[in-house]
Symmetry: C2
Subunit: 342 residues, 2 copies
Amino acid sequence: MPVTRTQAVLNGERLALTRTLSQVENNTPEGNQILEELFPHTGNAHLIGVTGAPGTGKSTLVNQLAFDYRHPPEGTKPPTVAIVAIDPSSPFSGGALLGDRVRMQDLAGDPGVFVRSMASRGSLGGLASTTAGLVQVFDAAGFDIILIETVGAGQAEVEIASLAHTTIVVEAPGLGDEIQTFKAGILEIADILVVNKADKPGADNALRALRNMLSLTQPEKNVVMHHGKMMSTEEAPAGDAEPDQEWVPPVLPTTATTGDGVAELIEQIAAHQQHLKTSGGWILREQARLKNEVGNLLQEALHQRWNSSIPPADYEKVLDQVVSRQISPRRAVDKLIKGAGL
Amino acid sequence: MPVTRTQAVLNGERLALTRTLSQVENNTPEGNQILEELFPHTGNAHLIGVTGAPGTGKSTLVNQLAFDYRHPPEGTKPPTVAIVAIDPSSPFSGGALLGDRVRMQDLAGDPGVFVRSMASRGSLGGLASTTAGLVQVFDAAGFDIILIETVGAGQAEVEIASLAHTTIVVEAPGLGDEIQTFKAGILEIADILVVNKADKPGADNALRALRNMLSLTQPEKNVVMHHGKMMSTEEAPAGDAEPDQEWVPPVLPTTATTGDGVAELIEQIAAHQQHLKTSGGWILREQARLKNEVGNLLQEALHQRWNSSIPPADYEKVLDQVVSRQISPRRAVDKLIKGAGL
């Protein structure tokens, strides 16, 4: 009896893995079927999101993390590592391809590493659920560490960060960085903050600015919602507060090009995992992550159902009425939903 | 007979305008009703999107644009200007509030200027349709120029750029800027490129890099789809190509803090509007913009309908099954949609 594709993925066979990843990315029925069979085997990997503005050296840092994971101290078994690199806003596939090529040089030939890049222009919800699918394939295939790399510092990254257990926000010294982090609001999602390119001028300033900013926002994190009322953690009854509230995000310098600081980063990632597991935060994040995925898939499914239920000509007709300002966009939506008999 | 709120907005009364903007932002039934009544009066304003990475001085540039619009050469009637500033990723309202305060100093007391900031964390689709609503209110109220400012350089900005007739992408000299633009892929959406902070070192390099990059991507823009086949514009039959394909985005230096270059930017904005109007591109963008808005509203409406049709307890139960890995996220969506009887 031949080994099924699902079994081959579970066995970690690279060819089966590659094919399955493509099918999940293209959202084929076969891909969905395999995902279905793989799902009960997921939940073992540590999912690590790495995000930050372009130009911070994030890709190099992700490479170096993978390399260091694969070369632990003598006598330790190295974890297997998958990298999912997402560039949600790039209409040029060049970015992702180039990324792959650079990575090849460092990590090529290591069977314990697998790199997958996505340069998609799909909707954000669609992108997030495709990424969730790819991560599940790697998880089921037995990869211990899954690094999810996203470019940018906007809403996309905040959404994609919700795919991870541990989120690393990468900064670099230079023009307006402190403002960047603040404005982008990604401090709130960071479990670990990294100032990469720490050998460049201004790195100390960036480290200091981030630490100051954290100390300013920290008090807010001690305020919890209790029966819809804001109160400090001191006032709130025990057991009511979010379990992982006591984690204070460390701020670490790294120089990805030389590898300086990457070992310490790996230590802090492990410490964060440990913290999540002992505090109960791990389960909470699993729940939030899967709830988010169901929400994304649901939106897609509802939209698809609707799409297939209305003739394109009717849709165009209603749009024409909007463009000629006979009816408003909101009225158009009412008409379209009623027209589809939903 | 008292003047209705809608009529008061159409008359440009500031108090009515402020209240309506709040109701549109909060998506109240009254807000939707007024939008409905205002919609036939829209379509006159020039909608100008201003986007780019944080730290490029975008807000200052937008202020200066408004100021210059309001102080044209002697003998010219100044257009009225509305500013809609969106920071989709900021969980801190501070950013937007600060922005307002800075603006006040320059533009306060000028009845021909109206500034509205939004620091929302809503979903991207929701944010885009709220923004579209605010823009419609200003448009109906008779503002000639509507500046839509977005922070960041990701998918959010690409989506929000689709709200404008003319999209300005702002860069600044400094760390990895050339790469930033390329990676973020926003070159493709730019009608005008600006290197702000042109008095800073590296500005010439940034200008050169952007011009080079444009000359590299330009040939691609001359390839059009013809009956599903890619062909160059020379091969394609006349009248078949996208009408605004010949617009080559100018690359301009500005120093927003001193106002240098802003007059030239205003000239180019006017030139782009002229180009759109003569080439037919204006209508195409109107269609794309409204189609996009209908799509966003539709997704929200479908999701809301579904949300109100299923008891929360049932939703939680299905989610629990996913978290315990009894069923996959995709199976959960099937169950939820069937359960709601949709």
